[in-house]
């Protein structure tokens, strides 16, 4: 049986046993009892109808991805809402923000409603469609922010494109200011990246490939920070990739401006040197940069300059990633590997991991009442149980995404999600998506 939003009913209880619960105050050993979609107790030696083994694992609020391309509607060959959200659940996510560069774009209530309905039907995790800043993401005419906000849209972005016109961006910020929404910018001055393929630097010079300069990102970031200063409207910066960007955001925050920022896992772990073999699986927008940029991004994530890790999960069919490097589309998978990359490449500190993968992104996405909650009695049971010491080798063939374009194929990661609960329902158990369980109450159908 399910009630609204698929929460479990009937009083059957699950106890998450033997884990270390991560809250803001720190991590402590405790069992977590889940009843009727809510956390009903946190403590020692709890019992329930069903046990999820969490020995050696961390138990945290489920992860929230600010940046996923689910491709539906329009490019179902690459991913569908079902396959993308299943991948998200496997990665420990209970909510994702779906980027609006669908076909048609998420610039009107009809498309937003379609995406939400498909996500609810699939039931793997909550999907919050981002709206467009401009109609069709063309940068010309403002989308109907209020209309979209009235159907629940909280984040607006033309992601994939930066809003080039400073006048449009200024108006968007002025208009958004009192609507309780956040604009999110893809920082890229398009004129500086025409034909660009990879980070502009020594590597691209040697390879004879058109360069993607850091200044293209930093120039728009700087412009928009100044527009935030002018208008007072909040703004979120997507997938920052350069050391200079980290500095700009650090100074903006020191000035007290209402800005937030995210970084993608691949920008925390991989450099442009990987492109030396011309394999388009390493092509992404913004591009993989240098070891110095990685160091600055890691430092920014650890000192709070960067608020969130967001996957920029961008599936592409295999044949498009076998095109020449300059014509292949940019983008990488991320949902199933993000946790492992962060634990491996950045920090094993569970509090910082949960802060940047759950608490902060939930707040930025405007869904902090449901997700990124403390683990305490009465809170929604949107939970991830993950093993920070499990070492595994990424195999693209075994990923749940419909596409195979992971840059981490063959790499060894430390840390992996084990169980995921969405409003008390087990969507992933022991690393396996619970295909038959997601539309039923717990205990009534086993996983497969």
């Amino acid at each position: 049986m399910t009630k609204k939003n698929g929460a479990t009913t009937g009083g059957r209880s699950i106890v998450i046993k033997g884990g270390t619960v991560v809250n803001r105050g720190g991590a402590a050993r405790a069992d977590v009892l889940v009843v009727d979609g809510l956390v009903s107790a946190v403590g020692e030696d709890l019992t329930g109808d069903e046990i999820l083994d969490a020995a050696g694992c961390h138990v945290s609020s489920g992860f929230v991805d600010l940046h996923a391309h689910l491709r539906e509607p329009g490019r179902e060959e690459a991913e569908t809402i079902t396959t993308g959200t299943r991948a998200a659940a496997l990665g420990g996510y209970t909510a994702v923000v779906a980027m609006p560069n669908t076909e048609p774009a998420q610039d009107c209530p009809e498309v937003v409603a379609f995406v939400k309905a498909r996500a609810a039907e699939a039931g793997w995790c909550d999907v919050h469609p981002a709206g467009c800043i401009t109609v069709g993401r063309l940068g010309k005419v403002l989308a109907a922010f209020e209309t979209l906000a009235s159907v629940g849209v909280r984040i607006f972005t033309d992601d994939g494109n930066g809003v080039q016109d400073p006048l449009i961006m200024r108006r968007a910020l002025e208009y958004s200011r009192h609507l309780g929404i956040t604009l999110a910018q893809h920082c890229e001055v398009a004129r500086l990246t025409e034909g660009a393929v990879m980070h502009e630097g020594q590597c691209c010079s040697a390879m004879g490939v058109p360069g993607w300069p850091a200044i293209a990102e930093e120039l728009m970031l700087h412009r928009d920070i100044e527009l935030v200063r002018l208008t007072g409207a909040p703004m979120h910066f997507l997938h920052l990739s350069t050391a200079g960007s980290v500095d700009l955001v650090r100074r903006a925050k020191a000035d007290g401006l209402p800005v937030t920022a995210e970084v993608a896992p691949h920008h925390l772990a991989l450099t442009d040197e990987l492109l030396r073999g011309f394999d388009p699986v390493f092509k992404v927008n913004p591009p993989l940069r240098t070891a110095a940029d990685i160091a600055a991004l890691r430092a920014g994530l650890l000192d709070g300059t960067i608020d969130a890790v967001a996957t920029d999960h961008a599936p592409h069919p295999q044949h498009t990633k076998q095109m020449p490097l300059d014509s292949a589309p940019p983008g990488m998978l991320g949902l199933e590997t993000a946790l492992g990359v962060v634990l491996t490449a950045v920090s094993p500190d569970p509090v910082r991991v949960v802060e940047t993968m759950s608490w902060n992104p939930a707040r930025i996405a405007g869904i902090g009442a449901e997700h990124g909650r403390p683990i305490a009695r009465g809170e929604p049971a949107n939970l991830a149980v993950w093993d920070s010491s499990r070492v595994w080798t990424v195999d693209r063939a075994s990923l749940a995404s419909k596409s195979r374009n992971t840059p981490f194929h063959g790499m060894e990661l430390r840390g992996r999600n084990v169980h995921t609960l969405l409003r008390g329902r087990v969507t992933v158990r022991d690393g396996i998506a619970q295909e038959s369980g997601h539309s039923r109450s717990i205990g009534s159908g086993g996983g497969r």
């Binding site: 502009e200 630097g201 020594q202 691209c204 010079s205 040697a206 390879m207 004879g208 490939v209 058109p210 360069g211 073999g277 011309f278 394999d279 044949h319 076998q322 095109m323 020449p324 490097l325 300059d326 014509s327």
Partner: protein
């Protein structure tokens, strides 16, 4: 050596060996019947996804003089226009039977990818702005034979002038010339110079006149007119005035300096002077040597060590 994708594949002894074989090939090419059976029964497919006349003819001539069968495939006459992928094209031709692919493509890296899709040898005949290794070999060969330096460029002063950034010839030649010991000066305006090229043996300047009296080799690069259309170059004749080889600059060269160009030339842009009027021009020697060097490369990749004549 299975493939020749980049000058990075070429260490000094390998270059010397190829140059020595190229000397044999030059001797063969001077015969009344310039043909040997060295690659009889082998098939060389030239697969050109980008237009080219001279490189393609040079490779095909090289293959034929070694008695290889040749197969020719160009994008304009092929199913690529019908949407067939490069991978499908290569796999199809491999199934017909190919021992070596000679690949040209407008995108950097395509010959590297091609090696994943065939068991045959792959020779890069120019990919994007990346590499053109046989051009570098024939240029190095031409310089050594013209200057009489053996198989080395130790201490030879070379200036490479023009659009370095968009040039696969520049990337290949800089790498190979420096490895062979040359002192290379790059002469170009800032927007035609990629970042991070300076290094041991390489200096960078935009003052051509300062460089000319001292060089033994002046290597002029083609400047494509579309660069000007893209707003990359200043208006009118400014580029030509600063970086073109005109009569005044030709007179500034030392008497025994040689002038080279990979072709095709843009007369009136980088070549203002008529090369036929330049005693130091070795542009046609480059073309002749190109056949010998490509014969040596194909023989090294496909031959059994016996020239057979």
């Amino acid at each position: 050596m299975k493939h020749l994708l980049s000058t990075h594949d070429l260490d000094v002894p390998t270059v010397a060996a190829i140059m020595n074989v190229a000397d044999h090939m030059s001797e063969i090419n001077a015969r009344s019947v310039p043909k040997v059976p060295a690659l009889l029964g082998r098939t060389v497919a030239s697969v050109f996804f980008e237009d080219s006349t001279r490189t393609r003819v040079s490779f095909e001539t090289a293959a034929k003089r070694l008695s290889a069968d040749t197969m020719s495939f160009s994008a304009s006459t092929s199913s690529v226009n019908k949407g067939e992928s490069i991978r499908d094209t290569i796999e199809t031709l491999s199934a017909i039977g190919v021992d070596a692919f000679v690949v040209r493509h407008a995108s950097s890296g395509v010959p590297v990818s091609v090696t994943e899709w065939t068991d045959a040898s792959v020779v890069n005949a120019g990919d994007g702005w990346h590499q053109h290794p046989t051009q570098a070999l024939l240029d190095a060969y031409t310089i050594t034979r013209e200057l009489g330096t053996g198989n080395t460029l130790a201490g030879v002063r070379v200036a490479i002038v023009g659009d370095i950034k968009h040039s696969r010839v520049a990337r290949s030649n800089i790498d190979l010339f420096v490895r062979l010991g040359a002192r290379v000066t790059l002469v170009a305006p800032g927007m035609l110079l990629p970042a991070g090229l300076a290094g041991p043996g390489i200096t960078v300047t935009d003052a051509l006149d300062d460089v000319l009296p001292d060089v033994e080799v002046l290597y002029m690069l083609r400047v494509q007119r579309e660069r000007m259309d893209a707003g990359l170059l200043p208006v009118g004749g400014e580029y030509s005035a600063r970086f073109g080889l005109d009569e005044r600059r030709a007179r500034m060269l030392s008497g025994d300096a040689i002038v080279m160009h990979p072709g095709p030339m843009n007369r009136g842009v980088e070549m203002v002077v008529d090369p036929a009027e330049l005693p130091g021009s070795r542009i046609l020697a480059q073309v002749r040597n190109g056949v010998s060097v490509r014969m040596a490369v194909l023989f090294r990749l496909l031959g059994d060590g016996q020239l057979g004549a």
